[in-house]
């Protein structure tokens, strides 16, 4: 009796596959805990939109180090090297997270400081609104060129007493209102009166008066002091009015009467 062993081709293939997979199993390194942690650290950070948005460069650096760790593990380098690279990768992921939170905090800070400026402005306006103002001078349109908002040198001279007064009374607030006559569109006039009021304000600031003490507003053509139907009336309406806050210790000096 002859023992006959015959292999079907299909069973040959399966034996080959089993053999191959045994080889592969033998070759693949045992899992490394540090590498696994680095992978999951990286994956979590990469899935965090804030990190992606604010620290993509750091995240990329972490990814490269993680890849080095993967390569070292694949090539079956000694576990010290895999541990080392995995540790580096994890720290770089942490760095990306820290950078992301730094950037986010910086943004918050910037938003808040804009908000603070706004609150401060509102506070100052509320403060000014509480004060009682009296008009101390009206500057005629000789201050400016027709239709322009550049102070003429003759106009500047009219402002010197005001500067002196404000320097001597450093608690006083000053309010500047620009007015026009009714020729031209009301929008044009509003804009022109604003620019003229601001020109006076800017002159006071360059003369050393704190911007905190000054408010400047264009009133347009809506507050005439005379008729707009005669040229003399219109000239009176083109003006910059200056008000100062009334307070006991800041009396208007006699040298500083109604201007013009």
């Amino acid at each position: 009796m002859r023992l006959q062993i015959s292999f079907q081709p299909s069973s040959l293939i399966s034996i080959f596959i089993v053999f191959l997979s045994m080889l592969i199993t033998a070759c693949s390194p045992t899992p490394n805990k540090n590498l696994e942690r680095a992978r999951s650290d990286y994956q979590q950070a990469a899935n965090d939109p804030a990190v992606m948005a604010n620290a993509s460069a750091d995240l990329f650096a972490a990814e490269k180090t993680l890849q080095r760790a993967e390569d070292a593990w694949q090539e079956d380098d000694d576990s010290d090297e895999v541990d080392h690279l995995s540790y580096l990768a994890s720290r770089k992921v942490d760095l990306a997270r820290a950078t992301a939170s730094e950037v986010a905090a910086k943004k918050t800070f910037e938003e808040l400081s804009a908000q603070k400026d706004q609150v401060r402005l509102q506070a100052r306006n509320a403060e000014i609104a509480k004060l009682k103002f009296k008009e101390i001078m009206t500057l005629g349109d000789v201050l400016f060129d027709t239709g322009g908002s550049n102070l003429k040198s003759g106009g500047v001279q009219q402002l010197y007493p005001l500067v002196e007064y404000l320097k001597n009374n450093d608690k006083t607030m000053v309010k500047i209102e620009g007015h026009t006559d009714s020729r031209g569109s009301s929008e044009y006039n509003l804009n022109l009166s604003q620019m003229r009021a601001e020109a006076v304000r800017d002159f006071l600031i360059t003369s050393g008066i704190s911007p905190q003490r000054i408010s400047a507003q264009g009133m347009g053509e809506g507050s005439p002091v005379a008729t707009n139907s005669t040229s003399a009336g219109r000239q009176q309406n083109r003006r910059v009015a200056v008000f100062i806050s009334e307070s006991p210790q800041s009396m208007t000096p006699s040298s500083f009467g109604r201007g013009m």
Binding site: Y87, L88, R91, E102, Q115, K116
Partner: protein
């Protein structure tokens, strides 16, 4: 133009260079040691001693250890420790900066609240 062909031609020399680099690993990692020193000083300047003392001192310890390994001709160990010191110092630096930014934002928030209260009085 950089093509696959040039890459293939360059391949062997790249391999040579990397072999050389591996060979260099037995040289003292002076560059890494000084980089670690700079990274630690950077972190100190940004307040890491105050905000991230543990991480900063770990970086310092690893750098000291790295120096000792290099003195004992254990250059590869020294290089690894120096690299870890750099990573830790950079992390301490970034964390300290993040905390400082967050503190500044908090202070700004308080300042706004104070300003608002002052106004409403």
């Amino acid at each position: 133009m950089f093509t696959i062909k040039t890459f293939l031609r360059l391949g062997p020399s790249v391999a040579m260079i990397s072999l050389l680099l591996v060979g260099c690993a037995s040289e003292p990692p002076k560059e890494l040691l000084s980089q670690a020193e700079v990274a630690i000083q950077n972190a100190e300047r940004n307040g890491a001693a105050q905000y991230e003392p543990a991480l900063l001192s770990s970086a310092r310890t690893k750098l000291d250890q790295a120096h000792r390994e290099v003195d004992d001709d254990e250059n590869e160990k020294g290089a690894r420790l120096a690299e870890e010191a750099i990573a830790e110092a950079n992390l301490a630096n970034a964390k300290a900066k993040a905390v400082r930014e967050a503190n500044q934002a908090d202070e700004m928030k308080k300042a706004i609240e104070a300003l608002k209260q002052e106004t409403s009085r």
